[in-house]
C-alpha cells in the first residue's frame, strides 16, 4: 500500500506556460534538447521538496512580454493511494492517513487524494520571490476551476520526512560523491552504527597504525618535527602538530574513502581511474543503496505499514554507457522501488519502456508542448507493431519528420536521393525514412499522430496500395483528409519503384549498376539465358500481371526489359544502393533525381526550409 504522484499541472514555470500530465510509476520523457524536460523535472522536485532558490527567471514570459511582479507560477500535484500492485485505489493506508492527516486529505466522490498547489510569487515583505503551498480542496480539470484553500499550508514534519524527491542529473559522478559528505554515498558511509566498544577498539588501531607509519617513514617523521615548530611561531607552546596518514576517528573515515574496482583479470583500480560510464553508474547505485537502507530503517521504526515515498527524477541514464550497458542500467532503474521520471535521448532505453509511459516533449513558439501516449486510439495488432517499431526504429520518436515508404529498397534509395537533393543526410534535418508498406501504414501513422510529427508517404501505384494508404490516413486522422492526402506522393500507372524507374528511362543506368555490382558486364545477358522459359514466383507474376512462365526471347527488346524487371524484383534490396548511386551520378543534372522523388522532396522542402533557419529546435507544424 503506497502512494503515487498521479497528476501534475504546471502554469508559467520557466519554459512551461501550461501543461497537464498524468504520471504512472514509471515515466519516460523524450524530446529534443531545450524542449523543457529538465524544467519539468525541476518543477516536480520543487513541488515535492519545496526547497530551492527561486528567482524571477523561474516565471514564464512569452517572447515580447515584460515580466510583471504580480505574475505568478503554479505547480499542482496530486497524490493518490495505491494498492500492493501499484494500482490506484480508494483510500490511503492507515500509515499514510496519519502522515497527511485531515489537513491535506480530501475526497472526490469515493476516493481520497492529496492535492498540493505550490505557488511561486513575489513577496513584497521579503522583497524576493518565494514559495507558498496551498491545500487543493477540489481538483478540477482546469486550473482556474480547481478550488484551493485560501490559507497557506505547510508540510508537517512527517510529510517532510516521508516524501522524498531526488534529482539525478546527467553529470552524476561517484568520484565527486566521494568528496561530498552530503551525497548519498557520503551519508551512507558516515552513519555511526557501531557500539562504543567497537569504536574505541578501531580508533585505537588507527592511532596505532598512524604512529607506526610515521615512525617508520623517516621523511614523514622529519616533516612532522619541522611543522611542529609552528607552535613557536604562533606563540603557543602547547599546540601539537601531527600528520595523519589515516583518519583517526571513525566519523572521519569517509573523508579519504575510495571505491576500488577490479575488472576481471585487471588489477584493482580506484574508481577515479575508471571511465565516466562506470562512475555515473556507481553513483546511481549508491543512491539506490541509500534509499534501500532508509526504507529498512523506516520499516523497523514504524512497522510493516511504514514506508517512504521516493520520487527519482533522472536525466540521461544512458550517459557514457554502451548500448547494452544502457539496457542493463535501465533494468536496474526499473527495479528501483519508487516512482521514476526519467528523461532520455537513447533509443535503447525507449525500446525497453512501455509505450504508455512515454511522454513526448517539444517546443512550439518558445513554449513547451507535451503529448502523452496514454490516450492513443489503437487495437491489439497495432500494439504488436508499436512494440516492433520501438524495438527496432525507436529513432522514429526522435525525428522531426517522417517519410514512410513501401520497403527497404525505397528506404535505401530515398536516403541517397535525399543526400543529393539537400546536400546532407536525412538525419541532419531530423528526417527519418522508414519502410512501412502494406499493413504497417496504420500503426505508424497512429504513432506519428500521437507524437505530432510531420509525415509524408511515398507509395507505389497499385490500386490496392492506394486503398490501404487512404484507409489508414482516414482511420487515423478522421474523415476530412483531403488536405492530408497531399502528403502522399504516389507512383502512377500501377508502378512499382523499379518499374517506375525503368519507365522514366533509367533502364540503362540500372543495368550498368547491376553489372558493376556483380562485376560482370554480361550479367544481364547471362541472367536472361539462365532464366528464360523458367517460372517466376507467383507473387512477382501477380505483381507484374504477367504469365508465370518467363519469355525473354520471343520479343528481344521487351524481353530484355522483362528480364531486368524480374532481376530487380528478385533481388530488391541487393541492388538498391548501387542503382541509386548510379542515378545520382548521371552526367545529366536533370536526371539525377527521378521526378516523383523530386516531387516528394519539393514537398518536404517547405518544412525543411523552416527548419534550416532555426538550428536546434523542432519543426513548426500547422496543427
Amino acid at each position: 500500500m503506497g502512494i503515487l504522484l498521479s497528476k501534475v499541472r504546471i502554469k508559467n514555470y520557466r519554459s512551461i506556460e501550461s501543461l497537464t500530465l498524468d504520471l504512472g510509476t514509471n515515466t519516460l520523457l523524450i524530446g529534443q534538447n531545450n524542449s523543457g524536460k529538465t524544467n519539468f523535472l525541476k518543477a516536480l522536485n520543487l513541488a515535492v521538496s519545496g526547497t530551492s532558490e527561486i528567482s524571477e527567471e523561474d516565471i514564464f514570459v512569452a517572447r515580447d512580454e515584460r515580466l510583471e511582479r504580480k505574475k505568478e507560477a503554479y505547480i499542482d500535484i496530486q497524490f493518490q493511494p495505491t494498492d500492493e500492485n501499484g494500482v490506484i485505489c480508494l483510500s490511503f493506508s492507515k500509515f499514510w492517513t496519519e502522515i497527511f492527516t485531515d489537513t491535506w486529505i480530501r475526497t472526490i466522490g469515493d476516493y481520497n487524494f492529496v492535492g498540493i498547489r505550490m505557488e511561486i510569487k513575489f513577496d513584497p515583505i521579503k522583497y524576493s520571490y518565494g514559495l507558498i503551498r496551498h491545500c487543493i480542496l477540489e481538483w478540477k480539470d482546469s486550473f482556474e476551476d480547481t478550488l484551493i484553500e485560501s490559507k497557506s499550508s505547510v508540510f508537517n514534519e512527517d510529510m517532510r520526512i516521508y516524501l522524498q524527491c531526488f534529482y539525478m542529473d546527467a553529470n552524476r559522478d561517484i568520484v565527486q560523491d566521494l568528496r561530498n559528505r552530503n551525497s548519498y554515498f557520503g551519508r551512507l558511509t558516515s552513519s555511526k552504527d557501531l557500539s562504543k566498544e567497537a569504536i574505541d577498539e578501531i580508533e585505537a588501531c588507527l592511532n596505532d597504525a598512524n604512529t607506526k607509519i610515521i615512525e617508520n617513514i623517516p621523511s614523514l617523521r622529519q616533516t612532522q618535527i619541522s611543522i611542529s615548530s609552528i607552535g613557536q611561531t604562533i606563540g603557543s607552546f602547547s599546540s601539537k602538530v601531527e600528520i595523519e596518514p589515516l583518519a583517526r576517528k571513525i566519523s572521519d573515515l569517509n573523508k579519504g574513502m575510495d571505491i576500488v574496482m577490479q575488472d576481471g583479470d585487471a588489477a584493482p583500480f580506484p574508481v577515479s581511474q575508471h571511465g565516466y560510464g562506470t562512475r555515473s553508474w556507481i553513483s546511481f547505485l549508491s543512491m539506490s543503496a541509500f534509499v534501500e537502507m532508509k526504507n529498512k530503517i523506516i520499516k523497523e521504526d514504524g512497522g510493516d505499514d511504514a514506508e517512504q515515498f521516493f520520487l527519482l527524477t533522472m536525466e540521461e541514464p544512458e550517459a557514457h554507457l554502451h548500448p547494452q550497458a544502457q539496457r542493463r542500467l535501465f533494468e536496474q532503474i526499473s527495479h528501483f522501488k519508487g516512482q521514476k521520471v526519467v528523461s532520455t535521448h537513447s533509443p535503447n532505453i525507449v525500446a525497453q519502456s512501455a509505450l504508455t509511459d512515454i511522454i513526448y516533449f517539444s517546443k512550439r513558439g518558445g513554449k513547451t508542448v507535451v503529448r502523452s501516449f496514454k490516450e492513443r486510439k489503437s487495437n491489439d495488432d497495432d500494439e504488436k507493431i508499436f512494440r516492433e517499431v520501438i524495438n527496432t526504429r525507436a529513432d522514429l520518436l526522435f525525428a522531426s519528420a517522417v517519410i514512410l515508404c513501401e520497403g527497404i529498397t525505397e528506404e535505401i534509395a530515398l536516403s541517397i536521393f535525399f543526400n543529393e537533393y539537400f546536400g546532407c543526410a536525412p538525419y541532419i534535418y531530423g528526417v527519418s525514412i522508414i519502410s512501412a508498406g502494406g499493413q504497417k501504414y496504420h500503426p505508424y501513422l497512429s504513432l506519428i499522430e500521437t507524437v505530432g510529427l510531420t509525415w509524408f508517404i511515398f507509395s507505389d501505384g497499385e490500386s490496392e496500395t492506394d486503398k490501404t494508404v487512404k484507409g489508414a490516413v482516414e482511420s487515423v486522422f478522421g474523415k476530412d483528409t483531403s488536405e492530408l492526402l497531399n502528403n502522399v506522393v504516389k507512383l502512377e500507372n500501377d508502378h512499382e519503384y523499379e518499374t517506375y524507374l525503368i519507365s522514366e528511362g533509367y533502364g540503362d543506368d540500372i543495368i550498368k549498376a547491376i553489372c558493376d555490382y556483380e562485376d560482370d558486364e554480361k550479367f544481364l545477358d547471362k541472367y536472361i539465358d539462365l532464366k528464360d522459359k523458367q517460372n517466376r514466383s507467383n507473387k512477382i507474376a501477380k505483381k507484374l500481371n504477367k504469365e508465370t512462365k518467363r519469355d525473354y526471347k520471343t520479343d528481344i527488346e521487351n524481353g530484355r526489359v522483362d528480364a531486368l524487371i524480374d532481376l530487380c524484383l528478385e533481388n530488391k534490396t541487393r541492388y538498391a544502393k548501387a542503382v541509386a548511386k548510379k542515378i545520382v551520378a548521371s552526367t545529366d543534372k536533370e536526371k539525377r533525381i527521378p521526378k516523383k522523388v523530386a516531387a516528394l522532396f519539393l514537398l518536404l522542402q517547405k518544412v525543411v526550409a523552416k527548419n534550416k533557419q532555426i538550428s536546434i529546435s523542432n519543426f513548426d507544424t500547422d496543427d
Binding site: K94, D102, T107, K151
Partner: protein, 613 residues
C-alpha cells in the same frame, strides 16, 4: 502537585470510552490535560481532539500542554477548541462538499437575525402570514427565531418543521443567498457535511483517534450527534467529562441526558466519579452538598471557611453589607486565607444583572474597582463610526452580503439599491462613504482586501491618523475607546495566529467566536451564574436569593426541569467560592413602579440557618 489516586485512575484508563462525573473543584481540567498529554505521548501518530465549552478553558488547556516539556512537538497533533470553532473549521475546509463557499459570513448579532426574519416575513411571497394576527410582532418574531434555533439544534430540515416550515426555509435561503449563516448553522452545517460524506467521516475517524469533551452536561442534540458521527467507524477512545449538577443551559437546548443517558447507552463507557472538591472550604461544601443530598465525609477538608446566609431589610442594606464586607476583608484579611486579598479575589453573583445594580452603585461610592464580565463573544462598539466600519468589513469579506449592504446604505443615508451587484467592493465602499461624515474611514479601509494577509496595525494607524477633529469630548472619548477595543482584539488575534494566516475572515470569525476576548479586567467581578462558570474566587457573595428571582418566577411556574436548572444555577454560583461564601436576600424589594413588595427567601436556602440583619 501529584494526581490523587482517583485522578490517576482516570488518566491511566486503558483504551475504551469513559465518562467522568466530576464535581466542582475536583481538578477536572487537570485530569483532562493529563489525559490528553498521555494520549499524545503514548500514540506517536494519531491526532487528539479536545473540545471544551469556552475559549478560556481551551486556552488554559493549550497553555498547560504548550509549557509541558514532555509534550514538546506533540502539541501539533492536538486540536483544542470549542465545539463551535471545530465545526466552523469543518465548514471552512469542507463546506464546498455541500455547496458552501469557504468565505461564508457569520451573522452573529441577534438583531441581524431578527431583521432578516422580519424581511422574510414581509417581503417573501408565498407566506400567507398576517403579522397582525399573530399578536405582537416582536414576540412573534422572537418566538420564530427561537423555534428555528431549536429546529436547527434538533438537526431538522425546514420541510419537517410545521407550522413554520416556509418561514424557516425562506430564512435559511435568505442567509444562503448572501453566503451567510447564523450560529446554529455552524453545528447544523457541520453535521450535514459529515452526514452526507461518509468518506470525510472515515477520514476524521482514522485521523482523530482520541476525543475528549469537557463540560459535557451542556451538550445539545446537534453537538451530541456530531460527536457520535465522528465515532462511526472505529472502536473509540472517547472521554466525556461533566457534572449533571452544573447543567444550567437548558434554555439553550443543552441537556445533561446526553451525557448521563444517551452516551452511556450508545458507548457503554466506564464510569468514574470525581467527587472531592479541592477548591472549596468545609462550610461551603456542606451547603453545596445539601442541595443534592450528598452525604460526603467532610473530615478530609482542610479549611473550615465560612458560609453565612443573611436576610437584609432591603436591597440597599444588602448592597451596603456587601460593600463593607469587602472593605473589612481587604483591611483585615481572614484566618483561612493565606495570601493577602486583592479585589480580583471577590465576586458578586446574582441571578440576573438587574439585581446587581444596587451593588454597583455602592461599590462606586466606596471607590472599589469592579467590572461586569464581558459578553462571551463578538465586539461591542459605542459609536456609529465603528458600526459603519464593521459593516464595511462585512462587505469586503462577503461582497454579496445584501443584508449588511442595505444596513450600511441606511446608515450613510444613501439609496438602498446603491451598489447592488457592484463588482468591485472597494469602489462600492468609497461611493457609499464619500461625502458623508464617515468619509475619513476610507483611507484605512483601502488597506483591507479579502483573502489576503491582513495588516490591521496599519488600518488602526490610519484610523487614528484621520480621526475627525471636530468631535465633542464625549464622542471623542467613545470613539477612542472603540478603536482601543479593536486594537485589543487584534493584539490577541496576533498572538494566536501566524502572520500568513491572518486574513480578514479569520480575524472577524475569531472575534465572533470569542477567541479574542480580553481577560485582563481587574477589580471585583459582578456576574450572573452563567458567566461565573469555570471561575473561582476566594470570596463569593450570592445576592438576591428570593423566591421569584432565584429561582426565577418563570421557572417556578414551569416547575420540575426548570427548577432543577435553577438549583444547578445556585450550585454553580456557590461552588465558585474557595474560602468564604456569603448568601443574602432582601426582605423587601422596591418595584420599578414604586411600591414595596415583601420577599420570601429562596426555597434553596429556606431550610438553612439564616441570620437576620
Amino acid at each position: 502537585m501529584n494526581l490523587s489516586p482517583k485522578q490517576k485512575q482516570i488518566v491511566e484508563h486503558i483504551d475504551g470510552p469513559l465518562l467522568v462525573k466530576a464535581g466542582p473543584g475536583s481538578g477536572k481540567t487537570r485530569v483532562l490535560t493529563e489525559r490528553v498529554k498521555r494520549l499524545l505521548i503514548v500514540n506517536k501518530r494519531s491526532k487528539v481532539l479536545a473540545l471544551t465549552f469556552s475559549n478560556m478553558a481551551a486556552e488554559e488547556i493549550r497553555l498547560r500542554l504548550e509549557t509541558d516539556r514532555e509534550v514538546g512537538d506533540a502539541i501539533k497533533r492536538v486540536t483544542i477548541g470549542t465545539i463551535h470553532s471545530f465545526c466552523l473549521e469543518i465548514i471552512q475546509s469542507r463546506g464546498y462538499l455541500i455547496g458552501l463557499r469557504p468565505d461564508i459570513s457569520l451573522f452573529e448579532n441577534e438583531t441581524d437575525r431578527i431583521a432578516i426574519l422580519r424581511s422574510v416575513i414581509s417581503d417573501k411571497a408565498g407566506i400567507e402570514m398576517n403579522l397582525q394576527r399573530q399578536g405582537d410582532p416582536k414576540t412573534f418574531i422572537a418566538r420564530c427565531l427561537s423555534a428555528i434555533s431549536e429546529f436547527k439544534r434538533s438537526l431538522m430540515v425546514p420541510e419537517s418543521c410545521d407550522p413554520i416550515s416556509a418561514i424557516y426555509r425562506q430564512y435559511n435561503d435568505a442567509l444562503f443567498n448572501q453566503n451567510a449563516m447564523d450560529f446554529d448553522d455552524i453545528l447544523f452545517y457541520a453535521y450535514r457535511i459529515l452526514a452526507d460524506n461518509l468518506n470525510v467521516v472515515k477520514l476524521y475517524n482514522s485521523v482523530y483517534r482520541f476525543i475528549c469533551i469537557d463540560e459535557s452536561q451542556d451538550l445539545n442534540n446537534a453537538q451530541y450527534n456530531i460527536i457520535r458521527i465522528l465515532c462511526s467507524f472505529y472502536f473509540y477512545n472517547i472521554m466525556l467529562v461533566g457534572d449533571e449538577n452544573q447543567s444550567i443551559y437548558a434554555f439553550n437546548g443543552s441537556n445533561s441526558k446526553y451525557m448521563s443517558e444517551l452516551f452511556v447507552r450508545d458507548f457503554k463507557p466506564t464510569i468514574y466519579k470525581l467527587e472531592e472538591n479541592f477548591r472549596s472550604a468545609k462550610q461551603i461544601i456542606r451547603f453545596s452538598n445539601s442541595l443534592f443530598d450528598n452525604t460526603d465525609d467532610l473530615s478530609r477538608y482542610l479549611y473550615e471557611g465560612e458560609f453565612k446566609i443573611t436576610a437584609y431589610i432591603n436591597e440597599l442594606a444588602e448592597a451596603q453589607a456587601v460593600r463593607s464586607a469587602i472593605e473589612n476583608l481587604m483591611n483585615s484579611g481572614h484566618k483561612d486565607i493565606e495570601n493577602p486579598l486583592k479585589y480580583d479575589d471577590f465576586a458578586v453573583i446574582a441571578r440576573n444583572k438587574y439585581v446587581l445594580s444596587q451593588v454597583e452603585s455602592e461599590l462606586k461610592k466606596g471607590g472599589i474597582p469592579f467590572f461586569y464580565k464581558n459578553t462571551q463573544s463578538g465586539i461591542a462598539y459605542e459609536t456609529d463610526y465603528m458600526e459603519v466600519f464593521d459593516l464595511t468589513l462585512s462587505l469586503i469579506k462577503n461582497p454579496i452580503d445584501e443584508f449588511h449592504r442595505q444596513k450600511l446604505c441606511k446608515l450613510v443615508s444613501k439609496d438602498l439599491s446603491k451598489g447592488k451587484d457592484c463588482s468591485n467592493v472597494k469602489i462600492l465602499i468609497e461611493e457609499l462613504l464619500s461625502g458623508s461624515k464617515f468619509a475619513w474611514l476610507i483611507t484605512a479601509l483601502r488597506q483591507i482586501s479579502s483573502g489576503e494577509v491582513l495588516y490591521f496595525d496599519r488600518v488602526l494607524e490610519d484610523l487614528k491618523k484621520f480621526f475627525p477633529s471636530d468631535l465633542s469630548d464625549d464622542d471623542r472619548y467613545l470613539l477612542e475607546k472603540d478603536i482601543y477595543e479593536w486594537q485589543n482584539h487584534w493584539d490577541k488575534f496576533k498572538s494566536q495566529v501566524a502572520r500568513e494566516h491572518r486574513t480578514l475572515i479569520a480575524f472577524r470569525n475569531a472575534i465572533s467566536l470569542g477567541n479574542t476576548q480580553e481577560k485582563t479586567q481587574t477589580g471585583v467581578s459582578l456576574l450572573t451564574g452563567h458567566m461565573s462558570k469555570g471561575l473561582e474566587f476566594e470570596v463569593v457573595f450570592v445576592i438576591g436569593l428570593t423566591e421569584g428571582t432565584f429561582p426565577d418566577y418563570r421557572a417556578v411556574i414551569k416547575g420540575d426541569e426548570a427548577i432543577t436548572q435553577e438549583k444547578n444555577n445556585i450550585y454553580v454560583a456557590v461552588t465558585r467560592a474557595k474560602r468564604l461564601c456569603y448568601l443574602s436576600y432582601p426582605q423587601i424589594k422596591t418595584m420599578p413602579w414604586g411600591s414595596d413588595k415583601a420577599q420570601k427567601p429562596s426555597r434553596f436556602i429556606s431550610s438553612q440557618a439564616i441570620s437576620l440583619k
